[in-house]
């Protein structure tokens, strides 16, 4: 986690205070003819449209509603970015594993709870972070692991995580359990394993664990969240100039409080979880 990129932008988000107006030329409002981020001069995959990729199924509360017009936190963040770039948004399906494949993409950016890391930045470009993520630990009520209060209480249990998540790296590097963690294709499969007691606890982002606790897994509890100061970012093909314009829009959304409002609207109930020491 030391390797994770800590973005100063996150501080702005946390403090909720207004930063001085962005000095980037990517203002959403009155861009002149020379504004590289004006809708007309943007070179998007499909001319005149912002095409955004995400995996399917897309999970609440990150995404809600139909793939034609996603709502939910990430859905609305992307929609808001498109609005500020003055482009209509179009959603396409992009499996996580394909998001970093070489070759032309059929989307302008991919938004799918992808954590920004240094290693990944060698292969793709990330936008600034739009959400600060913590890891959450989900277990069943009444099981021994449910008594755990700190990270060091967890090492003797069997963990599960979805493949490709930073949660797995978190298990291996921070919890360091004695039994090798089991790894599943999807969070749904990890949930099946938890219900069947094939794993003692599952680790994923804290928002998802709370969602699972409240809506999916009966008699389950979130042991706590572990602050990792990692950021979710949108994935762009390397050297895509569009990333500057999207960052400009994100910057605006941070400074005028839009991002915080969206976070409160969709995520607030998911973030009130005790912290694991």
């Amino acid at each position: 986690m030391r390797k994770l990129l800590v973005l100063t932008a996150s501080l702005v988000l946390l403090a909720g205070c207004a930063e001085e107006p962005s000095n980037q030329p990517s203002s959403s409002g009155g861009g002149g003819d020379k504004d590289p981020c004006a809708a007309k001069s943007l070179s998007t995959v499909a001319k005149g449209t912002l095409t955004v990729g995400t995996d399917r199924p897309a999970f609440e509360p990150w995404f809600k509603g139909s793939p034609k017009a996603y709502s939910g936190y990430e859905g609305e963040v992307a929609t808001e970015v498109a609005k500020r770039l003055k482009l209509p948004i179009k959603w396409v399906v992009e499996p996580f594993n394909k998001a970093y494949a070489p070759g032309p993409k059929d989307w302008d950016f991919d938004i799918n709870q992808i954590t920004i890391t240094e290693e990944r930045e060698r292969a793709v470009d990330f936008s600034d972070g739009y959400f600060e993520n913590n890891q959450g630990v989900l277990a069943l009520e009444g099981t021994p692991v449910a008594e755990a209060k700190s990270i060091s209480d967890l090492e003797d249990y069997q963990f599960g995580a979805q493949v490709g998540t930073t949660s797995l790296a978190f298990i291996n590097s921070t919890i360091q359990p004695t039994a090798e963690a089991k790894v599943f294709d999807t969070t749904n499969d990890a949930v099946s394993a938890l219900k069947n007691s094939q794993i003692d606890a599952l680790v994923t982002d804290v928002v998802t664990t709370v969602y699972l606790r409240d809506f999916v897994v009966k008699k389950s509890l979130v042991l706590g969240q572990y602050p990792k100061t990692e950021q979710f970012g949108m994935v762009f093909e390397e050297d895509n100039p569009l990333v500057e314009c999207v960052n400009g829009a994100l910057q605006k959304m941070k400074s005028d409080g839009t991002l915080e409002k969206l976070e409160q609207k969709f995520l607030q109930q998911y973030l009130e979880v005790p912290t694991l020491e």
Partner: protein
């Protein structure tokens, strides 16, 4: 086994050494074949190297740094070669059970008589079902379904066990059909002759039909095992970390597919010798038949 001594065909001089293509081996033949081989591969290499994205593909798939790191693992990612040991184990264990279960199914399917109809029906139903259902669905049903039942013994096994059970169920259905083809290929007169010598129906099957049948189907059996070897990778959907999953973990963390190349390489190292061995068996069999026909 069922052959009288001396009936075992012995590969004899000229007909034995005559392999495919060896007739044209002379100075000129070697020259032409090596030239065409070089040109063939050079054209492919050139086409790949000159492609506009070749450096990107090389970096994303064949970067030595990532190949090496994924092979041996990092703090947060498991070693691909270490995980491959699990594939080998699952393959070897599943293979033994498949050979036994499939043979039982094939024999049961061939038992004559109206009394045994229900057994035959079960055998037919079994092969139809498990050849028709995709392996991944069987894996899900057994790997997540059985533990969900809450039974004492059946619900408390490891995921690897469930995975191997699923492999055995699916592959036995295929292999049973291979056995059956072998059994059907032994002429009825063999059974008739054995019965007239006083062997029981079972003895005729055991000592006359099966030895010939099994020998004939060894190449297709090995072919199925090459498939089995690769399909052990599917067990990863249940949670265990085998080679393909270890590669997937590395790829997702580093955004680099080099780990998959390493995993593919490991599978190839195991399957190629198996494939060559199969070829050799097929050739030997053909030689024997030719020799037999000449007698």
């Amino acid at each position: 086994m069922g052959f009288p001594p001396g009936a075992e065909p012995v590969p004899s001089g000229p007909s034995g050494s005559r392999g495919r293509g060896s007739r044209m081996i002379g100075g000129r033949g070697i020259l032409i074949s090596s030239a065409s081989t070089i040109i063939f591969f050079a054209v492919i290499a050139l086409a790949v190297a000159l492609a506009p994205g070749s450096s990107l593909v090389a970096e994303r798939f064949f970067d030595p740094y990532h190949l090496n790191r994924s092979l041996f693992g990092t703090v947060t990612t498991p070693s691909v070669v270490g995980a491959f040991v699990l594939n080998i184990k699952m393959f070897l264990i599943a293979e033994v059970f498949i050979l036994i279960l499939a043979l039982v199914v094939a024999i049961v399917r061939g038992i004559p008589g109206p009394v045994f109809f229900p057994f035959r029906a079960v055998a037919v139903g079994y092969t139809d079902l498990f050849r028709g259902v995709p392996l991944i669905l069987v894996l899900y049903i057994i790997g997540f379904g059985l533990p969900g039942l809450g039974l004492k013994f059946f619900s408390s096994q490891s995921e690897v066990t469930y995975g191997v059970v699923a492999l055995v169920l699916v592959y036995s259905a295929y292999v049973a059909e291979v056995y059956r083809a072998g059994i059907d290929s032994v002429h009825e007169s063999q059974t008739a002759a054995a019965r007239s010598l006083g062997l029981s129906r079972w003895q005729a099957m055991r000592f006359v039909v099966l030895p010939q049948a099994v020998r004939r189907v060894i190449p297709p059996l090995l072919n199925d095992f090459i498939g089995l070897q690769k399909d052990t990778a599917l067990i990863s959907v249940l949670g265990p970390i085998e080679a393909a999953r270890a590669a997937n973990i590395y790829a997702a963390e580093q955004f680099n597919y080099g780990s998959f190349v390493i995993a593919a390489f490991l599978f190839i190292i195991v399957t190629i010798p198996l494939a060559r061995f199969t070829d050799r068996l097929i050739e030997r069999d053909q030689r024997r038949r030719r020799a037999g026909a000449a007698l």
